[in-house]
Amino acid sequence: MQNLEEYKGVFVFAQQVDNVVSGIAYELLGKAKDLAKPLNAQVTAVLIGSDVKGLCDKLAEYGADRVIVVDDPELKEYRTEPYAHALSSVINEYKPEIMLVGATAIGRDLGPTVSARVATGLTADCTVLDIGDFPLQPVPGKESEQKHNQLLMTRPAFGGNTIATIACPNNRPQMATVRPGVMQKIDPIKGAKAEIIEYNPGFTPNDKYVEIKEVVKAVSDIKDIMDAKILVSGGRGVGSPENFKILEDLAAAIGGQVSCSRAVVDSGWKPKEMQVGQTGKTVRPNVYFAIGISGAIQHVAGMEESDIIIAINKDEDAPIFDVADYGVVGDLNKIVPELTKQIEAFKAAKA
């Protein structure tokens, strides 16, 4: 049995790729700071890589009180085994109460392996994290069994159609992967310093060390639409591949990316990786512009979890208006360029 009392502090896996800290690491540090307050605990970033010590100050500026660095040539490119060994060794040595990992392509590989190795639970793709009681309400007659200061992890399931709040009351650390783009990073504190601990558990390659034969970067210059905070999405109503220019201009003005519906991909106007929907990607940006998209159920299934949906369509009866927070009936060819202009003016006035 674990002695749960031994486990202290909120730890964050500070993902880096090519010695650049990923945005998710800062987001997790921001959230870790919130969680650490009621626990009266420290925030620790776990930095794993090769020649990465220079990144510690950045992590301090974004809220890390302490950085544990595992620096080894074996850790140059991400591979499951040496990284899982590094992170689980840190957990076993430093005993965190909470361990947060980004739900990125790396984190969703690393998290399950590490949680199984250290024998604890893992809640995937969390969108809300809180400190609270488990059970949420005391069971009559068993009030003393209610546990306090537990990590409550909320996540969508079933393609976003159900939500569950999950606790891990009897195992430590309480582990979660957290969806990128959901948590807020803090404004960096210039000149902040963290306590730095260098730790190396030793890396002896075995059969679990998969060999990287080849790394091919920038397979595409299209950024992943799943990472975008604002998506400007076009459908058949945009009319032509050339006319996507007005969507690209809007995306540039507002700091978003262009995506599209299946009809656009089927017409050969845009590549498949930009497609939102059941047979494309599921996206949950802060803002989703549906422009000239009628809103077939298959499309809606891929975007309805967006925080704010703004639809522009000339057909007043388009089903997209059933899920839009703000629907505008009108001609996209006139509205979109004007919108770009006004947003630029608005931003200029504010700057």
Binding site: V17, T80, E81, T104, A105, I106, R108, D109, G111, P112, T113, S115, A116, R117, T120, G121, A124, D125, P135, L136, P156, A157, F158, G159, G160, N161, T162, A164, T165, I166, A167, D207, V210, E211, K213, V216, K217, A218, V219, D224, D227, I254, V287, I309, E316, F321, D322, V323, A324, D325, Y326, G327, V328, G330, I335, E338, L339, Q342, I343, K350
Partner: protein, 261 residues
């Protein structure tokens, strides 16, 4: 060569999720299907069978009716189906599920285990890597291409801005993306044979080297504090502005109000 494919029966969400009048999910109204990522994993295994004569065993954990997806897999060309079912295994989280499946797999010989990346009901993507960890074998998740080279497997693995060509010594576990391939259809002969095929059924007693403390609801470290079927967001506002300028003013106003710009 021996390949084990782990598959799961899930409610179908294609063509829309069904809701009760009160906005909760109507699970009974949805068909049960083979999870899409798992089906791609099965197709990858069947291609290894076509190419190298691999023997393909499909394994699922679930209620007795989950044998339907095993029969579907047999009708597509799998050689053997194993159903792991037992009341004490119910309510398992990913830790308990992976402990159970690893306990079943320890009875079998294998060179390769293929699982889907994630199931469309839970979306966790955890069970595959956790099975590998319990069995102490390497895992390659999110496979886009699979090739065999002697006792090694070569896999194309996609990351955010790059892909890796990875080589692992077998035995190893691979998690498959539905983008990996287009699964074949069942054949009429295959369906006929599958209906009559024997499905091996295992219960708790058949699991090897697994502690009771790691099984079922009681053996699950994660506990549900609250669950709700999310009430679907209804329509918001809809405006029909007289001019494009009015339309833009409306949108900019909303973006400002919501602190987007």
């Amino acid at each position: 060569m021996k390949v084990i494919v782990c598959i799961k029966q899930v409610p179908d969400t294609k063509g829309g999720v069904k809701f009760n009048p009160d906005g909760t999910l109507d699970r009974g109204a949805m068909l049960a299907i083979m999870n899409p990522d798992d089906k791609a994993g099965l197709e990858a295994a069947l291609r290894l069978k076509d190419q190298y004569g691999a023997e393909v065993t499909v394994l699922t954990m679930g209620l007795p009716k989950a044998s339907d997806v095993l029969r579907e897999a047999l009708a597509m060309g799998a050689d053997k189906g194993i159903l792991v079912t037992d009341r004490v295994l119910g309510g398992a989280d990913t830790w308990a599920t992976s402990s159970t499946i690893a306990g079943a797999i320890r009875n079998l010989e294998y060179d390769l285990i293929i699982t889907g990346r994630q199931a469309i009901d839970g979306d966790t993507a955890q069970v595959g890597p956790q099975i590998a960890e319990h069995l102490n074998i390497p895992v390659i998740s999110y496979a886009q291409e699979i090739k065999i080279d002697g006792d090694k497997v070569i896999v194309k693995r996609q990351y955010d801005d790059r892909y890796h060509m990875l080589e692992a010594k077998m035995p190893c576990l691979i998690t498959a993306l539905s983008e990996l391939n287009d699964p074949r259809y069942m054949t009429p002969g295959g369906i006929f044979d599958a209906v009559q095929a024997d499905i091996t059924t295992w219960g708790r007693a058949d699991l090897k080297d697994v502690d009771d403390a790691n099984l079922g609801l009681a053996g699950s470290p994660t506990k549900i504090a609250k669950a709700s079927d999310k009430v679907r967001k209804g329509a918001g506002e809809k405006v029909v502005p007289d001019t494009p300028e009015d339309a833009v003013k409306y949108i900019v106003g909303k973006l400002d109000e919501k602190h987007v710009i």
